[in-house]
Amino acid sequence: MKPSKRLFAWAVLMSSAAGILGAGAAFANDQLEKMSQDPKQWVIPGGDYNSQRHTKLTQITTENAHKLHPVWTFSTGVLRGHEGGPLVVGDMMYVHTPFPNKVFALDLNNEGRIVWAYEPKQDPNVIPVMCCDTVNRGVAYGEGMIFLHQADTTLVALDAKTGKVAWSVKDDDPAKGATGTSAPLVVKDKVLVGVSGGEFGVQGHMTAYNIKDGSVAWRAYSEGPDDQLLFDPDKTMAMGKPVGKDSSLKTWEGDQWKIGGGATWGWISYDPKLNLVYYGSGNPSTWNPSQRPGDNKWSMTVFARDADTGMAKWVYQMTPHDEWDYDGINEMILADTKVHGKETKALVHFDRNGFAYVLDRTNGALLEANKFDPAVNWATKVDLSTGRPEVVAQYSTDHNGADHNTKGVCPAALGSKDEQPASFSPQTGLFYVPTNHVCMDYEPYKVTYTAGQPYVGATLSMFPPKGESHLGNFIAYDVNEGKIVWSDHETFSVWSGALTTATGVAFYGTLDGDLKAVDAKTGKLLYKFKTPSGIIGNVNAFEHNGKEYIAVLSGVGGWAGIGMAAGLTGDTDGLGAVGAYKSLSSYTQLGGVLTVFSVE
């Protein structure tokens, strides 16, 4: 297989418009793909190109998980919310931090000694332009370089051995509200990066930079004219039909698309055989739906794009004309698995809006969209023939209008699940999903756009679903049957990326700071350890010198740190003073620490 794949990569390169790429580039793809299949390393933020977050390592099992214990720790020296997780490449581990976006290269052969540290100089004025804390979701690796997406949208390439800057480019302008929080993804000879700023009216885009020198290979916007979208009106498909001319422009009033949001701050996946990259776009700006009539395409959309050219093969908009801030940026998990009994090249996406979407990733056909939290009430279902949700008028903030407080909408704006990535276990065939179990009142109102200033236009309050007191669940979900298999209650939202092992263990972290190992079949707790701070990072696995390790960053913050630090307000419907409303700050405090576990 390998030689033919390499040949294929060569063919693509030779025919690419750029035509200036060297032989090393062709090997880079193969090399990274091969490395990602070595379970000893963790070279891609999502574990592999499929974003499955699954390890084939077998030392830690359901039988011995109770013997897990921390074996070493590392303080990042940074206080704010620590999302993402460390990479392990060979004998080195790469740990990142929120602003100021430090990167540490740790020598695993030398007790985690710091080989190099990188700290960019950034204008602190970028800090308040970041929507929800100064998070960063990690670095990417490729062709001997570490790629860091800084808060100020600078994408910098660092020599993985020395930390020396190879090149650096600015992706967008923080003065207009564009910031960098997402982890890049290396695909072939390119590094892809999205942008944040949906609360500041950016025009979201995904950009591929040539690894060689940081030059732009392609840029694809989420809204705008077809040439900016990289859409072919006749070939780009949506729900089985060509999108047609001006598919985005027709769904916005005037030139509102220019400040239309659709930020691309989530995760990116890649299918090397189809040569397609997958990612989602975020909320249309503003949060006041009355101010932007139309479907607001292609916000809230799953994109499948050619990795070489950026041209969109297919798109699917999950939440047309968003009225609740249900960003569509959550990870796209690529899994070859059974859907309704049929083996499928699936793309599985647990959306903020509370529906688990299953699409045929080859063509974008919508196969299934079921609720993965029974509390979800804003829509009764998704019509699989049109792809549109059947919105319940009572919970439609657009129907109820601006200056009206729409009450009891589930999920809340932070979604049934936010960016915290789920895991797929080929062993059980199930998806393991960290979820939020939170509802909201949402009141939109008119706002004025000012460049670089918040462009939100709604206020909201959040609380658990009626009659309940827990704010999160860790669930196992079956896409074959379209249902929840088991669900573990958590006091707070589960805001940590999950990990599954080939030995039937599932890992996640909690906002109050526990690293937990549960039985993937039953959800039964096998082990927990209270780390120094709340966990919003992702659990990763690696092996070094014959020993399997589990690594996770703790360091509470992020959007979870906004709503939860102060505690949530109770609805007036007699929810009572239950433990869940106690402020998170009575459980945990700030501070970034990496904790590494093993069973020996």
């Binding site: 206080l79 704010r80 919310g81 602003f99 100021p100 602190p124 004025n125 800090i127 308040p128 332009v129 929507c131 929800c132 804390d133 100064t134 609360e199 009355s290 101010q291 009539p293 209008g401 601006a402 200056d403 009206h404 407080n405 009142d441 009141e443 109102y445 008119k446 706002v447 004025t448 000012t450 670089g452 200033q453 918040p454 939100v456 236009g457 709604a458 206020t459 909201l460 309050s461 959040m462 509470v556 913050g557 740190g561 906004i562 709503g563 630090a565 102060a566 505690g567 949530l568 307000t569 109770g570 007036t572 700050s585 700030l590």
Partner: protein, 176 residues
Amino acid sequence: MRRDRPTGHPQAEHRMVGKLSGLLATTALAAALTLAAASLAAPGIARADDAPADAKPPADAKPYVVQNGRVDHHVFNGYRRYGDNCLRCHGPDGAGSSYAPALVDSLKHMTKEQFEDTVINGRQDVNTANQNVMPAFGLNPDVVENLDEIYGYLKARSDGVLGRGRPKKIGDDDDN
């Protein structure tokens, strides 16, 4: 676009410009403020609230009207504008977040002038331990034109006369 509001409230704008001029005299303000004043004087700025500019209360009066936990439309508007521009950092109901102070506490010792100065010009506390930056809102009409009301809302919260959550309005029977 239903329930859109009229633009241009000359009286209210005059009030804000007057306040900004006062600040200019007492503090060394950045160019941003001058720009803010200039932009406020410009015609056609979309108005954020439809509240009439009431007569000024006496100097020793509270900056809010709260009766039995219910609020007037000024405080209510302050609540909403807080939600629009401040909540993402300072948390729901001014209660703070993991990275920005609880304003219900800050306003126990901060004067109104300090509050206005901070909102309009921003503030930075960046050192090895902290990376706290409050942005300058002086160019944001949704904030500047509603600053009195945002302050009134937060002061009512800080004084303990207003609880958490969406305030109920005086005279409203239903809870909308």
